[in-house]
């Protein structure tokens, strides 16, 4: 890294837009398709302005037909294109579950490896905007259950800017979950920021007392919790998984080998969650590295409620992460 490299003030939303613009510019096979991506400018204003820049062939508004246009994205990818399909929120992606699971994740295998599907599906995820139970769920861990697709969860400006092109160059379907609370995230980004690796988890904060594993919309809260813990003399290492399938367990276990304690922060419901999968792998692969039971801060097992105080109580928050971390470090073997 060149220290003198210029940075620009930007947002997660603008970084995603820059990534889309970059992809549309780089390759004529790339097109964006989804509900209100064109004239409306994107539900979260991610694609604002791109219609004027690239035209309605390549920034394509669709009817409210999730199964239809996700399936069309798969077909177009099979037939030589590099589609970026936007599904407004992961809640609506359930209408396209047949296409994602039965076709996108499966056709390569059923055909004996004859085809690749270089498709990217983007969708918003997560709670926090008082949108109640049909607009606030987190299904990324659920999708990570499925072999044949890759799941990425950009949590930083760098990843919002850099994951899209790498995902498009991946020969297989990639689903990108964008936590909706991150769209307004603001900060400095290298002016020459570009594509990033999507194979590895990253240590976002170094520490030796315990490992906090998280991703997506919970990264900011987890880093904030780490600062609170530091003030109390506990140095937490924070790992951003970035990719939920395939999981980069070497990075997770490497940290655990140093800290011997782990808390997993996951906005998804606890039962059958991604957090549960990581715990299971720790049990299988690193049980004897542990000085305390692995703990979790997860979504409470309830559909996300509308009132602000109940919604906040339903998903991981800084105070809960701190309390769980303190219990974990206080629990000496």
């Amino acid at each position: 890294m060149n220290d003198a490299a210029a940075t620009v003030r930007t947002t997660y939303r603008e970084a995603l837009r820059a990534a889309l613009r970059d992809a549309l510019t780089r390759d004529e096979r790339v097109f964006l398709m989804g509900e209100d991506v064109g004239r409306y400018g994107g539900t979260y204003a991610v694609s604002k302005g791109l219609l004027a820049e690239f035209g309605d062939e390549r920034v394509r508004d669709t009817p409210l037909s999730e199964s239809g246009f996700v399936g069309a994205g798969i077909g177009a990818a099979l037939n030589g294109m590099l589609p970026v399909v936007e599904v407004m929120t992961c809640n609506f992606s359930l209408l396209a579950l047949d296409q994602i699971v039965n076709n996108a994740a499966t056709l390569r295998h059923m055909s004996g490896g004859q085809f690749s599907i270089p498709l990217v599906i983007r969708m918003a995820t997560g709670a926090g905007r008082q949108l109640a139970a049909q607009h606030s769920h987190s299904f990324e861990g659920w999708y990570a259950h499925i072999p044949g697709i890759r799941i990425v969860t950009p949590a930083t400006l760098e990843d919002a800017r850099g994951m899209l092109w790498t995902a498009l160059m991946d020969p297989d379907p990639v689903i990108m979950f964008e936590n909706a609370l991150l769209y307004n995230l603001e900060g400095e980004l290298a002016a020459d920021a570009g594509p990033v690796d999507i194979n590895r988890a990253v240590v976002r904060r170094a520490g030796q007392d315990l490992t906090l594993v998280t991703y997506g919309g919970s990264l900011g809260k987890t880093l904030a919790a780490a600062e609170v813990l530091a003030a109390q003399g506990v140095q937490a290492e924070v790992i951003d998984l970035r990719t939920l399938r395939p999981l980069d367990m070497p990075t997770v276990l490497g940290s655990l080998a140093k800290t011997h304690r782990m808390v997993i922060v996951d906005e998804g419901w606890k039962s059958g969650s991604l957090a549960a999968e990581i715990m299971a792998r720790v049990m299988e692969e690193a049980f004897f590295d542990l000085d305390a039971p692995v703990a979790r801060v997860c979504g409470v097992e309830v559909p996300i409620p509308y009132p602000k105080h109940l919604e906040e109580a339903a998903i991981p928050q800084v105070a809960g992460i701190v309390a769980t971390a303190l219990r974990t470090v206080g629990h000496h073997a």
Binding site: N79, M110, S116
Partner: protein
């Protein structure tokens, strides 16, 4: 239709019929497992329709697709090996009867989710349209798919965007065991297509030349940039839905009545009456088809089982590093 290869049409139908009769036999013998959905009775549809397509057109079909695969030119050997689940099969054995794929033939399944192929077809056609390629995507599906949301989403999308899709509906009257009249408020399938402004035509699916003529016309319009077309082929499945079906939902008399309209017998009579073929020629054709199928069975028998060590292959595309 001058210069029509009538003997070729008959031969393709016969190949499909004899191939599937052999499959039923092999199923009983335990050589083929899983679900086996036979196309017997419907051969004129795939045979006639496929003649309208070019090599670089794309074909999508359902789980009742052996006939389409053969008519599209997938070798009987690779197809039979797939039925066995052998590595030499066209999908390396991973798919079986319901999931026939062949990149070279641009044959994209073999989709066992009813209606699941229709959105894919819209996407194939979207790619061709965006790349200005004068290709057609032919999508076969049964009348049962008409009840699925994906049918309506795909027809609307294809019409809205004027995509080069040929929607080929094989109406064999039963979605598994549910008669069309027991599942659709309006049984006029062409009307449903027209409601999306997709030109539609109902065709006698037991008449191979009628199927071919209608598909040639519709494909030409699609290829010329006229947007999607919908054809309903009225046909009938002579055998059970799958090998597990006791056929409680339709009476024998109905089946026997339709069998009198067997597309192969009818076309044979037609050719004989026109003096286009004699008994010796037909016998020779039967013998050639029998030899082809015997060779396919031998190929499948001699094929190999994929090593269990390869189990996790073909989930993701191999990548460098």
């Amino acid at each position: 239709m001058t210069g029509l290869d009538r003997s070729g049409l008959l031969r393709t139908m016969l190949r499909i019929r004899r191939f599937e009769e052999k499959c039923a036999e092999l199923y009983s013998a335990g050589k083929i497992r899983g679900f086996l959905h036979l196309y017997i009775g419907e051969e004129a549809v795939a045979t006639g329709a496929m003649r309208a397509l070019q090599p670089d057109d794309a074909v999508l079909a359902t789980y009742r697709e052996h006939g389409h695969a053969l008519a599209r030119g997938i070798p009987a050997t690779a197809l039979m090996a797939e039925m066995y689940g052998k590595y030499e099969g066209c999908s390396h054995g991973r798919g079986g009867s319901m999931h026939i794929f062949d990149a070279q033939a641009r044959f994209y399944g073999g989709n066992a989710i009813v209606g699941g192929g229709l959105p894919l077809a819209a996407g194939f056609a979207l790619a061709d349209r965006m790349m200005r390629r004068p290709r057609v995507t032919a999508c076969f599906f049964g009348e049962g798919a008409v009840a699925e949301g994906e049918f309506h989403e795909a027809l609307n999308l294809a019409s809205l965007w004027q995509l080069p899709v040929l929607f080929l509906c094989e109406n064999n009257l039963y979605a598994m065991g549910t008669a069309l009249a027991r599942s659709e408020a309006d049984t006029d399938l062409c009307e449903k297509a027209r409601s999306y402004k997709v030109p539609a035509q109902a065709v006698d699916g037991m008449d191979v030349e009628a199927v071919m003529a209608a598909t040639v016309r519709a494909a030409a319009e699609v290829r010329a940039g006229g947007g999607p077309q919908f054809l309903e082929f009225r046909t009938y499945r002579f055998r059970a839905h799958s090998m597990f079906d006791p056929e409680l939902y339709r009476d024998r008399q109905e089946v026997e009545t339709w069998k009198k309209r067997c597309p192969i017998a009818a076309y044979t009579r037609q050719l004989q009456a026109a003096g286009g073929s004699d008994d010796a020629q037909l016998a020779a054709m039967e013998a050639e088809v029998a030899a082809e199928i015997a060779a396919a069975v031998a190929y499948a028998e001699a094929g190999s089982w994929e090593p269990v060590e390869f189990l996790a292959r073909d989930v993701y595309t191999p990548r460098p590093g």
